[in-house]
């Protein structure tokens, strides 16, 4: 009141009409609220844009254009001796199978009476993916009886033609492209009109290994999924027992002294160490020093174990802390030792929290890329690793590293593959997080 008179302000004329100063303050209030709301909206919009671009870019990887043609497996070319001896059949290179595919396609074009202006022989042979001849060869080697017959073959087409049906390649861009031509695309259209060429669901994206630079149409995430799975296995086997044991000690037994303090500070610092530093550690300690093989899932698993340990320890300690002391007191009161009270009573009650933390730690490990680049997971791997434990020491890839690998290739078709691999990765992460949420919902207990 005295304030108002001191500053010589007019007394408020009406309670019903806001004075200028109040209006100003209220406007500031509204602006401030709008900033806050805006910040939330911006972050949600970013999330939507991020997911939308990845999804739209990557769904194409799950569909692939195939050509269905009758292929005559000419015995004169494939088995000169005529005795179907597997050793002799193996000597026939994929080149020969490529020629057979080309002849079959030319035959099919002639049969259907497709005529296209300035269609070169190269256009016709290039329509078929280079991977297709290798696939046909494998099929024949698996079943030599096919030789001499005419079989229906489902053949991968060239990545550019595939891109044409996914909107990545147009007639205009094809004219400028050395790897395809408008005539080739017209041929593909004509074949499609005859029902021989179709874009179908592509299981092989999930099952087949990576393919070389020129064959984006054949590249898949099979080895990457397997490699990631192996690494998660290693992390699960190592990080969970070690992490839980460490948390039990720190939470239930550790005396408050300098050593425990050092451990605690260490764990919280390790949680914030950049992941690439763990990669350097893995390279120096596990590969250079311990002599483990490069690009093996065991090394990746060990590095990811060290990385996820702090996460698991922090989550487990929170879960142990949430178990009320009365449980421990009751156990001790009926004569259990401290060890028994922890292992028989506290630990089972803390299990849901530990599981949730573990799954979240695993999800983090699954998406980690940088440390894996340093331990050689970028290598091109064409052969599936065998079953564990031997497979853990054989070269493999990992899902996020596969994504990185594909972004480094020249052909834009690999970008679609990379987005597709990310969809696979996100689906795995989603499942893990849903599992964590479900576990928490089902077993959560409040005392």
């Amino acid at each position: 009141m005295s304030d108002a008179t001191l500053h010589g302000a007019q007394p408020r004329p009406s309670l019903l009409v806001a004075d200028p100063r109040t209006r100003k303050r209220n406007a500031a209030e509204a602006r401030f609220r709008a900033y806050g709301l805006g910040a939330i909206v911006i972050s949600m919009v970013m999330l939507v844009i991020l997911l939308f671009t990845i999804l739209t870019g990557g769904l194409g990887a799950f569909r692939q254009t195939y050509l269905e043609i009758p292929v005559t497996l000419d015995a004169a070319q494939l088995d000169k001796t005529g005795n179907r001896d597997p050793a002799d059949l193996r000597k026939v290179l994929t080149l020969t199978y490529g020629k057979i595919l080309q002849q079959s396609l030319e035959q099919a074009i002639a049969d259907k009476g497709i005529a296209i202006a300035d269609l070169s022989a190269k256009d016709v042979s290039n329509l078929i993916s280079k991977e297709a001849s290798a696939q046909l060869r494998n099929r024949v080697l698996a079943d030599p009886e096919l030789i001499g017959q005419t079989v229906e073959a489902r053949v991968l087409v060239n990545g550019r033609v595939d891109g044409y049906y996914k909107g990545r390649v147009s007639m205009e861009s094809a004219a400028r492209d050395a790897n395809t031509s408008p005539a080739q695309l017209q041929l593909a259209d004509a074949l499609k009109a005859q029902g021989m060429l179709a874009t179908q669901w592509n299981w092989s994206f999930l099952t087949s290994p990576d393919a070389s630079d020129q064959r984006p149409e054949a590249a898949g995430v099979g080895i990457a999924i397997l490699g990631s799975l192996y690494m998660m296995l290693v992390v699960l086997v190592l990080a969970v027992p070690i992490g839980v044991a460490a948390s039990i000690y720190l939470e239930e037994f550790a005396p408050r002294n300098r050593w425990t303090d050092i451990i605690e500070v260490n764990i919280s610092n390790l949680a914030a160490v950049p992941s690439i530093v763990f990669g350097i550690l893995g390279l120096a300690a596990f590969i250079n020093f311990a002599g483990l093989p490069q690009s093996a899932p065991i090394v990746g698993g060990l590095v990811l174990t060290l990385m996820t340990l702090p996460t698991i320890i922090i989550a487990t300690r929170a879960a142990l802390k949430a178990v009320p002391p009365s449980i421990r007191d009751a156990a001790l009161g009926v004569g259990a030792s401290r060890m028994q009270s922890v292992f028989h009573h506290v630990l089972p009650l803390a299990m849901p929290g530990i599981l949730t933390g573990t799954i979240i730690g695993l999800a983090q490990a699954l998406g980690e890329t940088a440390p894996l680049l340093l331990i050689g997971m970028v290598a091109f791997v064409k052969n599936f690793p065998s079953a564990p434990p031997d497979g853990l020491f054989e070269p493999a890839s990992a899902l996020p590293v596969q994504v990185y690998n594909w972004t480094q290739r020249a052909d834009p078709a690999f970008i679609e593959r990379a987005s597709g691999a990310i969809i696979v990765l996100l689906v795995f992460l989603l499942c893990m997080n849903l599992l964590a949420i479900l576990l928490r919902r089902k077993f959560e207990r409040r005392w």
């Binding site: 500031a28 209030e29 602006r31 401030f32 609220r33 900033y35 806050g36 709301l37 910040a39 939330i40 911006i42 972050s43 949600m44 970013m46 999330l47 671009t53 990845i54 992490g243 044991a245 460490a246 948390s247 000690y249 037994f253 451990i263 260490n266 610092n269 390790l270 914030a272 160490v273 950049p274 992941s275 690439i276 763990f278 990669g279 350097i280 550690l281 596990f286 020093f289 311990a290 002599g291 060290l306 340990l309 320890i313 030792s337 060890m339 999800a363 998406g367 940088a370 680049l373 340093l374 050689g376 970028v378 434990p389 031997d390 996020p400 994504v403 990185y404 972004t407 990765l425 992460l429």
Partner: protein, 396 residues
């Protein structure tokens, strides 16, 4: 593989030890388990642990520390150890033997060992990098590394390996990332803790946390295929600032998005920790809600928020995949944010992927870079944790 065979035999021995000792102790007690000091299974566990632990340690040390050692003698030694452990356990098994105490102290030892792995990891990180960094500085003068302004590694000699251009790129990108994430994250946290209805919070909080769960490679791809080309086509080229898709701006913006949930969840905790009485006092004096926040809550929470920003900065400096895919590979000291620059982490990746020659300074420099990165982020983390902890104590 001799390792897996030895492992298998040791485990079988341990299992046998469990069964035999348990049966023996029960037999010694004349079938009356009440005459035993410990339950029979503790006697069994005692034997199993004594058999397995020494042998397993030997195998672990052999496999990871001395991979070149001859396999057969070590395997034989491990088996002898296992058999000796079993023998000791069997000879000690008697009804009065305090097996439970023995087992519990062994388990406790294991627990202590597991909790020391964190220390071992840190030691491993520091030593592995110090060791190789030492090698690097024997071949390349440290003054040139820390104060050199040119980065041009040439395999075959004559490289210039100055860290300053990389440090500049790292700092520039991190600053842009913080300029994006701090206001957005902070405002989101303020709105969520002070204004939002429970319903909005239950939607918005998990949605923002989803951003935190997305792997960084996804952000990297987003930078590479969406943000980079967009910035180039709509900003850099029309403004004549360059025509590179990979740029400081691309990496900074995307990294900023990645850091939003990080800043917002930390600030959320800190704002919630400000005592309600401070708010009530300000509101009671007639300030509006925003005045309360700006003049009372935020100043009170400031140290904590500074800590959160420091933690976010350490994240930004150590982030790898976004900059690998979004920032480019050219080491350059430039003010133009639409120019491609590079960071410490990018160069660690590029120097250490592919065929490495661990005698060449061009490879070893990655360890020096890694150590620098480790020291910077560790320093930021320690300061941040100190600030946050000190602040928490203030209101407890």
């Amino acid at each position: 593989m001799p390792v897996s065979w030895t492992l298998l035999i040791v485990l079988v021995l341990a299992g046998a030890g469990y069964l035999v000792t348990r049966a023996r102790v029960v037999a010694l007690a004349g079938g009356d388990t009440r005459r035993l000091h410990s339950r029979p299974s503790y006697h069994g566990w005692n034997a199993a642990l004594l058999t397995a632990l020494p042998a397993l340690f030997l195998i672990a040390i052999w496999r990871f520390l001395l991979p070149a050692a001859n396999a057969t003698p070590v395997a034989v030694l491990a088996l002898i150890l296992a058999a000796a452990g079993l023998g000791v356990a069997l000879s000690r098994s008697a009804p009065g033997f305090r097996a439970r105490n023995a087992v519990e102290s062994m388990v406790k030892g294991l627990l202590i060992l597991c909790s020391s792995i964190a220390i071992l990891t840190t030691a491993g990180i520091v030593f592995s990098m110090l060791f190789e960094t030492g090698h690097f500085f024997q071949q390349y003068p440290w003054q040139d590394f820390f104060f050199g302004t040119t980065w041009s590694p040439r395999f075959g000699g004559g490289s210039q390996l100055g860290i300053l251009p990389l440090l500049w790129g790292t700092i520039y990108i991190s600053l842009i990332a913080l300029a994006v994430s701090v206001p957005i994250g902070l405002f989101a946290a303020i709105y969520m803790s002070e204004y939002a209805s429970a319903k909005l919070r239950s939607v918005a909080k998990p949605a923002i946390e989803v951003l935190a769960g997305i792997p960084t490679i996804v952000y990297g791809l987003f930078a590479l295929i969406t943000v980079g080309p967009m910035l180039r086509d709509y900003f850099a080229q029309p403004l004549g600032l360059g025509n590179s898709g990979a740029s400081v701006m691309t990496a900074g913006l995307v990294m900023g998005i990645m850091l939003i949930p990080f800043v917002s969840s930390l600030s959320d905790d800190i704002i919630n920790a400000v005592p309600q009485s401070l708010r009530d006092g300000a509101l009671g004096l007639g300030s509006t809600q925003s005045e309360t926040i700006r003049k009372v809550v935020l100043p009170a929470a400031l140290p904590g928020i500074v800590g959160a920003i420091l933690l976010a900065a350490s994240r930004a400096i150590g982030e790898t995949m976004i900059v690998v895919l979004g920032a480019g590979a050219a080491a350059r000291m430039d003010m133009n944010p639409f120019e491609a620059m590079t960071t410490i982490t990018v160069k660690i990746v590029s120097q250490l992927t592919g065929d490495n020659d661990f005698a060449a300074p061009e490879t070893l420099v990655a360890f020096a870079l890694g150590l620098t990165l480790f020291v910077i982020t560790l320093g930021l983390n320690i300061v941040a944790l100190y600030v946050v902890r000190k602040y928490r104590e203030q209101y407890e």
